[in-house]
């Protein structure tokens, strides 16, 4: 009577299709980066010449450096700003300006980039007129813009961790006479440090990836990697960009794999400790 065979659940099928949808286009980029033909759509044999061409392209190389520099400093500042904002939102109770702060912290998450970019540019222009600073726009103004929108993401990640965290540990430290600042640095920060790392990495990738906001607030001097890539792909597909895409995908996959590996190992360790406690 087994008319009903055990077939995979509809949602499982959709998950597989969804993952294929996410990964096939990236796989195509990787495969065609090894194509010897300039035409991206015709396979003409294996070659690594586009990687060589990529590493000879001074414009791309210097843009990579500019982007990494901006992303590093923007992510670091965003972690400071976002963590303080998250701490204030979750631990400070009620205060004047709380609604304003919480609206402004999360608003950049969904703000269309063209609006953020335009509004910041107008600010920098106006400030330059009134105060003489910033005299010319470039890496500095991109850093401010990226810090502002990245701190929103950091705040959300850190606030989620702070909410999970039992505040009784912090209260215990304060009851024992530890001043708030000391409690924050020696009790709270170490516990939430995984969230800080996650927030920093997220902010770093967001800053590296941004084209629209950087285009608005940048000056003639600073070209970030997305700006260079954009002006190239606008003209059509180019095998050099495929090679660059492959390297980016490889780096991110490797970093993700390492993160997964360590998280799994920690989880396994915790299970062992829990079992030992149960046994003992």
């Amino acid at each position: 009577m087994s008319l009903v065979r055990r077939r995979p659940h509809f949602s499982t099928v959709m998950l597989i299709i969804g993952l294929l949808f996410l990964y096939l286009p990236m796989a195509v980029l990787v495969v065609y980066s090894f194509n010897s033909s300039r035409l991206v759509t015709v396979w003409a044999g294996f070659s690594t010449q586009w990687y060589a061409a990529l590493f000879r392209d001074q414009q791309i190389l210097s843009a990579v450096w500019t982007s990494l520099e901006i992303a590093f400093f923007a992510a670091s500042m965003a972690v400071c700003l976002g963590t303080v904002a998250a701490f204030v939102m979750t631990r400070f109770g009620r205060f004047r300006g709380k609604t304003a702060l919480s609206s402004m912290v999360t608003a950049p998450l969904v703000m269309p980039e063209v609006i953020t970019g335009l509004s910041l540019l107008l600010l920098f222009v106006q400030m330059a007129q009134l105060t003489g600073w910033p005299a010319d726009r470039g890496a500095g103004t991109i850093w401010i813009a990226h810090t502002t929108f990245c701190s929103a993401y950091v705040a959300v990640v850190v606030a989620a961790r702070l909410r999970e965290l039992d505040s009784s540990i912090e209260e215990a430290a304060m009851d024992l006479g530890s001043p708030p600042l000391k409690t924050f640095f020696f009790v709270t920060l170490p516990i939430i440090s995984p969230a800080l790392v996650a927030g920093w990495l997220l902010a770093f990738t967001l800053s590296l990836d941004d084209l629209v906001i950087a285009s608005f607030v940048s000056g003639p001097g600073a070209n970030t990697l997305p700006m260079v890539v954009f002006s190239s792909v606008r003209m059509g597909v180019s095998p050099k960009i495929n090679a660059l895409a492959t390297l980016i995908i490889l780096t991110v996959s490797l970093a993700t794999f390492l993160a997964w590996y360590f998280m799994r190992r920690n989880e396994a360790k915790r299970q062992v400790i829990l079992q030992q406690e149960d046994a003992g």
Partner: protein, 303 residues
């Protein structure tokens, strides 16, 4: 003596507390709120051949203070069918993309939440990984797939299924595919977060009381994951309305979207007042979705 020491300490803490609040508050007032006030200001000014290219709002000349408030930019937006069509095109495209994202993303998140515990982290990382690579390059990937001499057309023509290439690039279809592809992870993430938190005993209770699976899904699972549906949909819809890169790379002359029009007004026509007015109207359009998202998000943030 003791008491005064205590009050001094308390006062110092109070001061410290204020300083801690002031740091993010001042940064955001200066670099988030003030810029919007400037967009409003410049949207009310007149374009001028100057650097920066707009006229002043307040001028003091001949001992009289002149204030120029110019609604002309807004009237111009309303009278020119190009802008109205661009707004409509943006909302339509963003809405379609959000629905498709939800239809693909919900079952994905559902399957992830039901998967064995040791698989869940891996699946979550697999869904999020593409969004950590490069947005631009992921959109670019579709140029090679959809174009007339692209992968799909080559494949179909090679198999002899079609004789002339299907026109997929520079169409609405391509823009929707691009948005769905780029924003899908942002739909799945909040849905998954809500579905894993779902209490299994509720589903068991429903089934014990004789509810059928579909019925349980509609009456229990769906309402309980509504927060995730709203958050995910807003995370896709709002940025998609203002999207510039996707219509620029995958769209064509028939896929007018407001983000692209704003970009062109600003960078090509150097008409800052019109670009500012376009941004203000877009913000007005998105006000309800943004407030909706914010309500949900601040509840999450503050407990």
């Amino acid at each position: 003596m003791m008491l005064s020491h205590l009050t001094a300490t308390l006062r110092r803490w109070q001061l410290g507390r204020r300083a801690v609040i002031a740091f993010p508050l001042i940064w955001l007032l200066l670099f988030f709120l003030l810029p919007f006030a400037l967009v409003l200001k410049i949207s009310l000014s007149q374009g001028a051949v100057a650097i920066p290219p707009y006229g002043p709002l307040v001028e003091y000349a001949d001992q009289t203070l002149n204030i120029f408030l110019n609604l002309g930019n807004y009237l111009f937006l309303l009278s020119d069918s190009l802008y109205v069509a661009a707004y409509w095109g943006s909302v339509k495209t963003a809405f379609m993309s959000t629905v498709v994202c939800l239809l693909i993303g919900y079952p994905m998140a559902y399957a992830m939440a039901r998967a064995p515990a040791r698989w869940q982290l891996l699946l979550l990382l697999l869904v999020m990984l593409p969004s950590w690579t490069s947005f631009l390059i992921r959109v670019y990937a579709w140029m090679g797939i959809l174009s007339n001499s692209g992968l799909i057309n080559n494949l179909l023509m090679g198999l002899g299924l079609i004789e002339t290439p299907l026109r997929m690039m520079n169409t609405q279809f391509a823009v929707v595919i691009g948005i769905v592809y780029a924003y899908l992870p942002f739909m799945v993430l909040p849905l998954y977060a809500h579905l894993t938190r779902l209490d299994n005993s509720l589903l068991e209770a429903a089934s014990d009381l004789g509810s059928r699976k579909l019925n349980t899904f509609i009456k229990v699972t769906l309402p309980l994951s509504m927060g995730g549906i709203i958050a995910g949909s807003m995370l896709v819809f709002i940025p998609a309305v203002g999207e510039f890169v996707i219509p620029e790379l995958l769209g064509g002359p028939n896929t007018l979207m407001i983000g692209k029009v704003l970009w062109e007004e600003f960078f090509l026509n150097r008409d800052w007042p019109i670009a500012s007015a376009l941004a203000m109207v877009m913000l007005l359009l998105l006000l309800i979705p943004i407030v909706w998202f914010h309500r949900y998000q601040s509840r999450e943030l503050e407990e």
